[in-house]
Symmetry: C2
Subunit: 237 residues, 2 copies
DNA sequence: GGCGTTATATGATATAAATCATATAATTTA
DNA sequence: TAAATTATATGATTTATATCATATAACGCC
């Protein structure tokens, strides 16, 4: 349980343009931005920020994967969102001048930079384009959260589990074999996203494995029969 | 099932400052805003906008109550949010230039104005203050959606039902008797928010009634024992 | 490299909540 | 105002899923 802080690194290797919302900045604005951010390397399992903390700036994921979690009742963890490289995190609390309502934890070693709060506000006030990019990001998160609500409300655990696997694939894509989902989550973490018990999660993955929908190798999950998995998830369209 | 459109009215009786986000505008900006909006009266049960539709502008609730719903699986309705007078609706799709992902339906007769899309974008680009107000609104909605996710994921139906009653009270307040929740929802609508069956919803309300947590009179629900209801909801702090 | 700890797996059991069924009350509308 | 429809109520039954229990596998550590 050693929890050392991130290791500060220079920004020379960090291409901030990786981060989608900053695509809209021109050469000069990007240079300016780089002068107001600092990069750091995080080890797997480290906290980027924690529930109830005050935002010091905006975090950009240069590489690595992040989970946004909140502590529910009886300390049970709930995974709210999963974040990939190129994304920003912690923008909500920052923009609305609030404390974080969830924590950000690295799922693997990650390179993350933090953009100075004051500078970020200057940047979005002077660049409506950038502001709109961030707003679009929040809009997407809200739409996804609403979809999650409908799913939790109306689908059974089996359907949600299939849906979660499709979501993981949509978020992180496949590995080079074109069928292994490119993220390693524990069964408990998957359960914490799906909203079920760890046992039920394990059991359903085993079933899907037996039914040849997926194949399992440690934490790695491969989608063997996408069509059947979509059917199991009971997705419209 | 007759679904007539709203009745257009003048804006002379509509105080746009009612709408919280517009508080930040000065006298002149408000005047300008009023020149670019039009008010209308909606009857109970009418659609303000519908899922998949394209936003024509921003809606402001001058009076009345609104539910934001989305159609889930097998056509089952999910209530995502409840909106009261003074609030804006439809801002998400508008800001991110998307179609609506949910519908807005009046829960009672309502007076609602629509602010022209083009003008609204001009307004937020020229007034960062206004933009931040809207962003804060979205931030709150996202935080609330996240809380809803945790609740659906981790609480049982009884706890969620108690929580829902507290949420209704927090949103719409009490009537003059200081204990009757100031909104009329059908049992089915409450179920569609809580994420349960109508029968279970009815049953639990009956139980709460028997246990003297609430009292029922038609669609009107009064909170008789707030402390016990909070306990039943299993809320932290 | 063996030992303790944690993660995964699977069976057995309990139970919350959905579903089905039927009755009554409250609205709507003819 | 009566008939029809819809909403509320409550009982009986089924079922999905949590919980408890135990075993094995994988992993971190001295």
């Amino acid at each position: 349980m050693k929890q050392n802080g991130p290791i500060e690194t220079g920004c020379m290797h960090c291409n901030v343009r990786l981060n989608s919302v900053f695509n809209v900045l021109d050469e000069e604005q990007t240079k300016e931005l780089c002068a107001h951010k600092s990069c750091a390397v995080y080890k797997k399992g480290q906290y980027v920020f924690t529930e109830n903390g005050l935002p010091a700036g905006l975090f950009c994921i240069n590489s690595g994967k992040i989970k946004l979690t909140t502590t529910g009742y009886d300390g049970k963890e709930q995974i709210l969102r999963l974040v990939k490289s190129g994304d920003i995190v912690g923008y909500r609390a920052l923009l609305s001048n609030e404390r974080y309502h969830c924590s950000a934890v690295t799922l693997e070693d990650a390179s993350i930079c933090i953009i100075d709060k004051k500078y970020f506000f200057d940047a979005i006030e002077s660049s409506p384009k950038l502001m709109f990019e961030v707003v679009k990001k929040m809009s997407n998160d809200l739409k996804a959260a609403d979809a999650h609500i409908v799913s939790l409300s109306q689908k059974n655990v089996r359907e949600r589990m299939a849906e979660a696997l499709l979501f993981l694939k949509a978020t992180y894509g496949f590995e080079s074999d074109n069928q292994t989902i490119n993220v390693s989550l524990s069964r408990e973490e998957i359960a914490d996203y799906v909203g079920t018990s760890t046992e039920s999660c394990i059991r359903l993955l085993s079933e899907f494995n037996n039914d040849q929908l997926i194949s399992l190798k440690g934490k790695k999950i491969s989608i063997v029969n996408l069509q059947k998995l979509i059917q199991t998830a009971n997705i419209e369209d």
